[in-house]
Amino acid sequence: MELVTEIWRGSGLYQITGGQAIMLVVCLGLLYLGIAKKFEPLLLVTIGFGGLLSNIPGVEIATGDGLLYLLYTAGVTNGVFPLLIFMGVGALTDFGPLLANPRTLFLGAAAQFGIFATLLGALGLTSLGWADFSLRDAAAIGIIGGADGPTAIYVAGRLAPDLLGAIAIAAYSYMALVPLIQPPIMKALTSEEERKIEMVQLREVSKTERILFPLVLLLLVAMLLPSAAPLLGMLAFGNLMRECGVVERLSDTAQNALINIVTIFLGLAVGSRLQADLFLDTNTLFILALGIVAFGIGTASGVLMGKLMNRMSSNPINPLIGAAGVSAVPMAARVANKVGLDANPHNVLLMHAMGPNVAGVIGSAVAAGIMIMFTS
C-alpha cells in the first residue's frame, strides 16, 4: 500500500505544476510549427523536444547531472556549440554574390539597426518600470533582430543566460515567420516602380578571390573589432575549408556530420532553458514582443538603405534586396525574390539578394562583437 503511494507520489500526474503543463503545451506547439508548418525544423524540432523533456516533473534531465544540463554546460555557456555551427555555416555558404558586388554589405549593415533599436526598446521598458532588463539583457534581446540563430544563442549565453530560452525561441520563430513579417513592410516602403527594377548580372568571381575572402575578413576583424573574432573567425575558417580545395574531407564533415551532431546537442541544450520556472515570466512576453519589432525595424532600415543606394548609384539597385540584409539565410533572400517577381515576372533577384543576405550574417556578428565588448 505504502509502495503504491510512493509510486503515485513519484508520478508526473502528482508532481506536475501548472507551469510545466503550460510549457508542455507550448513545446508541442513548437513541434507543430516545426513539423507541420516546416518552420526552421532543424531547431524547432530539437528545441521543442528538449523543452518537453525539461518540463517532465521529478526527474533530472535539464538539471543536476541530467543529459540536457550536461549538454548545456558543455557547449552553450562557453559558446562552443554556436561557434561550431558557425564553422559549418561558413563551410556551407557561398560568398560569391557578395564578392561580385561588395556594396551590398551596406544593406547588411543598415538592417542591423533593428538590433540597436530593440536594445533601446528593452531599456525603454525598463526605464518606464515595466520590465527589469539590465544593459546586458537588453543587448542580448536586441540581437534577436540579427535574425541569426547561432549568433543570438552565442550572445545570450555570454550576456544573459537566464533569457537564453526566450531569445532562442524568438529568434528561430521569427526567422521562420519572415515570409509573413517582411512583405507588408517591403511593399509599404517601396513604389511599384522600385520593385520592378532589374539589376545587372553579377560578374565572375575567381577561385583566388574566394580563398582570400575569409582571410581578409579575419584580418579586418582582428584589426578593428577583436571581440567579434570568435564568431567571424569560425565562419571564416569554415569558408576557407570550403574554398581552399585541399581539405575537402574536413569541409564535408564540417557541413554534415559535425554540424548535425552539434545541432542535435544545441537544440536539446537550448530546450533545457524552456523549463517552466525559467521561461514563464513576463520577461518572455516582452522578449517575444521586442523580437518582432526588431525584425520589422531591421527589414525597414534595409529597404530604406536600398532606396538610398539606388538613388546614389549608377547601376540600378532594387530596394527589395535590402530586406534580405537581416540575414535569416536563405529565407529572406527568397522573400525578396518573390516580392520582386510579383511586381515584375522577369525580375529574378535571388542571387542579388544573397549578397545582402550573407552580409547580414557578418553584420550581426559585428554587432554582437560590439555588444560583448561594450558590456563586459
Binding site: 554574390p97 542591423q112 536594445l119 531599456l123 526605464s127 575572402f213 539565410v329 535571388l350 560590439i370
Partner: protein, 68 residues
C-alpha cells in the same frame, strides 16, 4: 525613470551602428582592393553563380541545410 541606463543604451546604439558601418565600409574597401590585386594576376576564373542553374543549386543547398 532610469535615465542613466537609457542614455547608455543610446550611446551604445550610436556607437554600435557607427562601428557596423565603419567595419563593413572597411570590408567593402578591402574586398575591392583584394579583387583588383587578384584581377591583375592571371587566374582561373569561375563564374559567380550568375546563371539560373547555379542560383537554383546554391539555394537548394542552403535550403536543404536549413529546412531539413
Amino acid at each position: 525613470m532610469q535615465n542613466e541606463l537609457f542614455k547608455e543604451g543610446l550611446t551604445l546604439m550610436l556607437a554600435g551602428m557607427g562601428t557596423v558601418f565603419v567595419f563593413l565600409t572597411a570590408l567593402v574597401i578591402a574586398m575591392t582592393v583584394m579583387s583588383r590585386l587578384v584581377g591583375r594576376a592571371p587566374t582561373a576564373a569561375r563564374t559567380s553563380g550568375a546563371t539560373d542553374d547555379e542560383i537554383a543549386a546554391i539555394t537548394a543547398a542552403i535550403t536543404e541545410h536549413r529546412r531539413k
